[in-house]
Amino acid sequence: MRAAHAVPAVVAAALLATSAPAAAIDYPPPGDPGPVVQNPRGKHRTLFVCKRSTKRRRCFRSIQTAVNRARAGDTVKVADGTYNEGVILKGPAKAGLALIGNRKHPRRVLLEGTGLKTSDPHSQNGVQINGASDVTVNGFMAQNFRANGFFAVNVTGYLLTNLVAKRTGAYGIYAFNSIGGTMSRSEAYYNNDAGFYIGQTPKQTRPRRSLVTRVAAWGNVIGFSGTNVKYTTITKSRWFNNGVGIVPNALKTEKFAPPEENVIVDNDIFWNNFNYFPPQPVPFQFKGAATGDVDYPTGVGVLLFGGQRNTIERNRIFGNYAVGVGALEQVLLKFDLATDPRLATRTGATADAFELQANVVRDNAFGAAGADLNGRDLFYDGTGKGNCFAGNTLTAGLNLPVDNSTFAACTTPAAANVPNPAAQATALSWATADPTHEVAWVRHPHKPIAGLTPLEHCVLDAGGGCQGQPQ
């Protein structure tokens, strides 16, 4: 695929590397998530799942069995224990269903994927919600699933809360081709792609906003990734010790490019310097990208890889060795749209989906007041239009480009964006021409944070995690 493009192969590899969806996984086909629906009305039942029934309460032994019996709007309560199964909720007959584990101690209700047969569709995801809108999943841990921990697809509305997703083949907590929903109070770590992912959001005139709040992602290839993600607010969360912190991105591999109207506000985004590349050991099965030849950039806090009308505001961004916030046009998609006249129609992309437009980076605090510097605070290749920077507290003393010529102020009329091909080439080379994956790094000492240890190179412990990190 890369050979077909006029852009250099190394550039294409870098572009493909950023947050490509794990297409090799056997996902259900995307459908139309449909209109907003009313919650199921009427009398609802509560079904119980536990490892052993008692005289006082009989219960199902498997969660899937209870879910199969449940009707729209019912509640399935699951007792503490380890359940060696993945759960599938499929179709409108399961709309509004609430799957409740242990809200205070989600690790006590463990969905374990180890040992499930590859041919078993239940081995793919801890919980998969397909076409059942407004489902709640609350109080579970999922680990060792081949695809994802918790996965909602083709739905209008979901609540995924008090969850832990560990060591999956792709994403920890994931929503695809869906309209509106909340991911909250959850943790994702040691996932082979992103800890949290929202992708292929359908275009909406009156959007239902998605909310990612009070979550933590660490030890993943990417903390949050969103291919063509839209109308999503990411807030009050911690993104640290990943290869990259947060990456909204435009790709042709999913519909409805570009990513639009996302707000990244009031987060802590730090220490995203996890170099997980071989030959170094990693706490998950490193598969590379489904598109092949993956070279994810490391050391990056936030990267806008394409994107329009996104806002990055009032975040605390520090200790990322390459750059705190970067913005790069989607060069490969630009080429594809120019050379494939049917691509836009086929994927629902806009004609300018590759372009950075009207993105705002403002009022962020970089470098922890000088106590934990980023290698660079800002990178912007200067492409697109209406992108601006205002009110940021910069401390690194270094940006890309070094002359700061691309960082247009937020004024009316909007200051022109001026492309800087050299800056773009430099940024791309970080990801493509560096077998160490650290050439872009400008190391600085970190300020201590209670309970946390920086993760740059993993030394495996007896449990398969990285030494010094939580289990």
Binding site: V36, T205, R208, R209, K236, D266, T412
Partner: protein, 363 residues
Amino acid sequence: MAAAHDETGALGRRDFLGVAGAGLVCTIGGRALEVRTQADAARADVAAAALPKPPGAMSAPPGSLPVDRLTFAAPGPQPGGVAREHWIAARTVRWDPAPSGRDAWMKRRIPGPRSFRAYVYQQYSAGFAAPIGPATMPGPTLEAEVGDTLVVHVRNADERLRQAITLHPHGVRYNPEYDGAYLGDFTRAGGFIAPGEEFTYTWEATPDSVGVWPYHDHGPNHTLNTFRGLFGALIVRPRGAPKPDREYVLYLHSFPPPVTGRARAFQCVNGRTAAGNTPTLTAKVGDEVAIHVIGGDSNHHTFHVHGHRWPDAAGRPVDTPTVGPNEVVTARWREDNPGRWLYHCHVFAHQDAGMAGWYIVDP
């Protein structure tokens, strides 16, 4: 209730006059409803919740005109202006119009139960990440200067009433896309924000927008929901004009029995009733003071501030101007008279029922 309608579903004249005195008249989905009690309000809510999403003017419903199919782009600020962005969620809250439980002017207890379900516009931080402060009535005051645009993201965050709302402004310039009004089959996107949805309005502050204006719900159940509290104000100033030292927006309005479930209406200023609950305004001698008063229900009110006079639009001194539904009057003066003063509506039935408050001027 059926007796109140003629064969067309409209209220008869006698019925209308009766309802007008005691309750509300709501027309929802082409059906006129008299709303005298909370049960009536619940029926109105059910009717509003059952309304289907309008097909959109672009679908060319019967009776549509070419203008209905015009498309409009979002305007940008004029040179030197800025886009002022707000994130406002509409949500219902439990609301006590007299948190102190007392009328500090009349020295009387205000017996309970007083709380009921109100509807508010609440300011949020970018992306609706978190509320900025508690719910208030009126909603956030939106300020702009000539040449600016107001970019207002409105989210219908209510999960109880399950009906569409909007935010419709007065005073500023907007194209039909950003009118924020439900127009039946001719409704555009911003005229029907269903539960869970959001819409971004863009309005222009033009030279003839200078002043103070109301905004309010103009969705399919606008009368009832405006009476519940879906209202606010916007202020447009000339570019570079200074703000007064003390500036207040006071909505004079009432919560009628269909909203509260009580036998009598609460007469209110900014969602509260009786001095000690209503806003206590403050100033110092020498301050320039501006009080913008908006009529927020179906009645006319007369706004009186003890110890003060100010010029009306014609330059004539007044101290009790009249303000009608969704009209605005501004009382403005340089403060020179310290003391504890009353402000109140001078419609006696309103002032004695709580439409009053304190104005404290320090020397």
